[in-house]
Amino acid sequence: MSTIEEIDPSYLALIDSDRVSAQTREVLLKRLQSSDEPGRKTALSTEEKKILQALAECVVPMAGRSIDFALSIDARLAEGQGKGWRYSELPPDLTAYRGALAAIDRYARREFRTSFAELPLEKKNQTLRVIESGEMEAGEPDSGDDVPSLSATQMQRWFQDLRGDVTGIYMSHPETLAQLWYSGIADGADSAALSGFVQLGLGKVEAWEPKAKVRENES
């Protein structure tokens, strides 16, 4: 897990400055320190969370840092709070997640004789490509298993939800915002007459605005 210490100190200083409102600072710092609360309701088993975390790290690979995606997603699933809609062809979010995680692990054991979380990166990505192309035939659940099986098309739809969930968690993380030198959090202090932005338009920057991260892969 990343901690306050790992964030660029000048971005932390921005978060602490009076250009960021108290409410905004509070949500950012809370997110940064997010760790499991004892006694929290959980929805997924330890094994399911392990598969989920492995999947999430394929969707958003991060060199030298990590985010506990499985924890955030589990917390949301346990609360039963979705995003306001779901594909009609998918079962409710928790059932879909559980069905998909089981199917992926079954696939990995069948094709590679090992659990998904233990696979080398290339084999994990290969598995995701099978889901993405709508070709993952999940096979029948083991007897005694209470999770329903998803069809290949359902897996494809679910994978889109997974990408959205994981990417949203990644992008909202203060360390990601710091890497981008994202200026939007600093829209002014707490008075009603916010300072906001004056330098608009191509290539214009405020005197206080952090220099945006240099683009790595010029296209």
């Binding site: 960021v20 990505n125 981008l180 932005f197 608009l200």
Partner: protein
């Protein structure tokens, strides 16, 4: 908003009217009826907010403004709900709307007469023009001194400044020989004394309109019509979810039943204005079947039919210079040259707008819609400060395949969740392709690289259509139900066709008009 000293009515008191929902449809008529001296109560499912104190500049925190009651999305181009098109709270979806306020084009009200598709509106844009003018003045709309597609039009405030995506669209459109103009936006470009309320601060270009404006610059209902309504004696009850109606022997609504906390409360009333939006309005009518198994106000069988969503295709590109797409009013440039575009192989048209965007919304669009994952995804997300978008709002024709129904799944109150079927027809598919080609050309001309298209649909429209014929419509041209004489519907559900213009200004115009019609004769019938 401050509700501390508002007037209150007893639940046993037979109030003149109950308004359900306080968004674009509910708020203007609430103010107008209260000002006319009516005793009136608004029931709003969502919370009451204090934007300056409660709204963080953060997209995750803003999800409290979204309607998160789950909806099931079906069809070949299922539309996304929640943050994409549905809000809640005192002020409705207008708390998180984008405040882009073009008027409807007169041709689009007569699309059937003109092009033989869709349906005509049971009125003309001339009927709405006085209301458009009233709204633009009251809300403090900022816009250009000269509006190229309607030279007569005058906006009360000068335009908001152009941000990088707007400059780029200007460049791209100029290269293609198309006109573009500063957009009409419902954010005040300078401090504005709101009639009957406080001074609203000028827009500070923070770009978080979709997450709730913190300083009153954006004309959401909680800083415009709702304070006016409260000042005139209306009561607004937050966190009150309506789930039933009581009818008397004449088939009129005599009381509204709502849930507040763990309690069911009954409010007696003489008339009801149902303004819960184009998903919750038909859902409630289908749910309250009372004596009729087809649902309330549904002898036509049209409740829930004709669901429409705008074709809202976007094109994104990367630019060498920094764009910082979070800065500035997000959509500050418009073109209406595409309302009837050249080389069209479809009916109707679309308007084009420049797009700024905040990072999480953008990243999730990339992950879901561009289909990236792994290193290509992370690498592309690093380009955030260099991207800019351009997008359309395109007309959508009513289609038999597109409708809302109740599913078998219940929500926490046991009310069935809505399932919405939505598939683009040939017309929408062609329009989207035309727009994609045009916007890609504009982005190339503006210097973009790594250009890609994001397919999406926006807004929830139709489902309780207005029209002349009781057999094929749910309400008449004034918004009154054909079946239940003291039930009026006023929200995005009454639209006979989608129109390329973004909906809220037209919904508000209909709201003021419905209030006038009600005051003229509705009360006495």
């Amino acid at each position: 908003m401050n509700l501390d000293s508002m007037r209150r009515y007893g639940t046993d008191e037979e109030v003149d009217a109950v308004v359900i929902g306080t968004g674009a449809g509910g708020a203007p008529l609430l103010a107008k009826l209260a000002r006319a001296g009516l005793r009136i109560v608004a029931l709003e499912a969502g919370r009451n907010w204090d934007p300056g104190r409660d709204f963080a500049t953060d997209e995750v925190a803003a999800s409290e403004l979204y309607w998160l009651g789950e909806r099931l999305s079906a069809g070949q181009t299922p539309t996304a709900f929640g943050g994409n098109n549905s809000g809640t709270g005192v002020g409705g979806s207008m708390l998180h709307w984008g405040a882009f306020v073009p008027r409807a084009d007169p041709r689009d009200f007569r699309i059937h007469s003109e092009l033989g598709v869709g349906v005509d509106w049971p009125m003309s844009v001339d009927d709405l023009r006085p209301y458009y003018k009233e709204l633009e003045r009251f809300l403090g709309i900022s816009g250009p001194a000269f509006y190229p597609w309607d030279p007569e039009r005058k906006y009360p405030l000068p335009p908001v400044p152009l941000n990088a995506p707007a400059e780029l669209m200007q460049r791209g459109f100029r290269a293609l020989g198309l006109r573009a103009s500063e957009a009409p936006v419902a954010a005040v470009s300078s401090a504005y004394q709101q009639e009957g309320y406080e001074t609203r601060h000028a827009c500070v270009n923070r770009g978080y309109c979709h997450q709730g404006c913190r300083n009153g610059a954006k004309a959401s209902m909680d800083v415009t019509y709702l304070p006016a309504a409260v000042a005139a004696g209306a009561e607004i009850r937050p966190e009150c979810f309506v789930h039933d109606f009581e009818l008397n022997d004449q088939g009129r609504v005599s009381a509204v039943i709502y849930r507040h906390g763990d309690e069911n409360i009954r409010q007696r009333c003489k008339a009801v204005f149902l303004c819960a939006g184009a998903v919750e309005t038909p859902r409630l009518l289908l749910h309250c079947n009372g004596r009729r198994k087809e649902g309330l106000a549904n002898s036509s069988g049209q409740v829930g039919r004709n669901f429409m969503a705008h074709v809202a295709t976007q094109v994104w590109g990367t630019f060498a210079e920094e764009t910082r797409p979070n800065k500035g009013f997000p959509a500050s440039l418009i073109s209406e040259d595409t309302i009837r575009p050249a080389k069209a192989d479809f009916a109707g048209g679309y308007l084009t707008q420049s797009l700024g965007i905040v990072p999480i919304t953008w990243s999730m669009q990339v992950a879901r819609g561009r289909g990236l994952w792994g290193k290509p995804l992370v690498d592309y997300l690093q380009q955030y400060n260099h991207v800019a978008g351009i997008g359309i709002n395109g007309d959508c024709l009513p289609d038999d395949r597109n409708f809302l129904e109740l599913s078998d799944e219940g929500d926490a109150l046991g009310m069935k969740k809505a399932r919405v079927h939505f598939s683009y027809g040939e017309n929408e598919l062609r329009m989207s392709q035309h727009a994609e080609d045009l916007m890609t050309a504009a982005w190339k001309a503006a210097g973009a690289t790594d250009i890609w298209t994001f397919q999406r649909s926006a807004h929830t429209i139709g489902t309780c259509r207005m029209g002349e014929d009781p057999n094929t419509n749910v309400v008449d041209a004034t918004g009154r139900s054909f079946d239940v004489p003291n039930l009026w519907i006023c929200d995005n559900s009454v639209f006979p066709s989608a129109l390329p213009a973004n909906p809220a200004l037209t919904i508000m115009a209909l709201s003021l008009r419905t209030a006038d019609k009600f005051l003229q004769d509705g009360e006495r019938r």
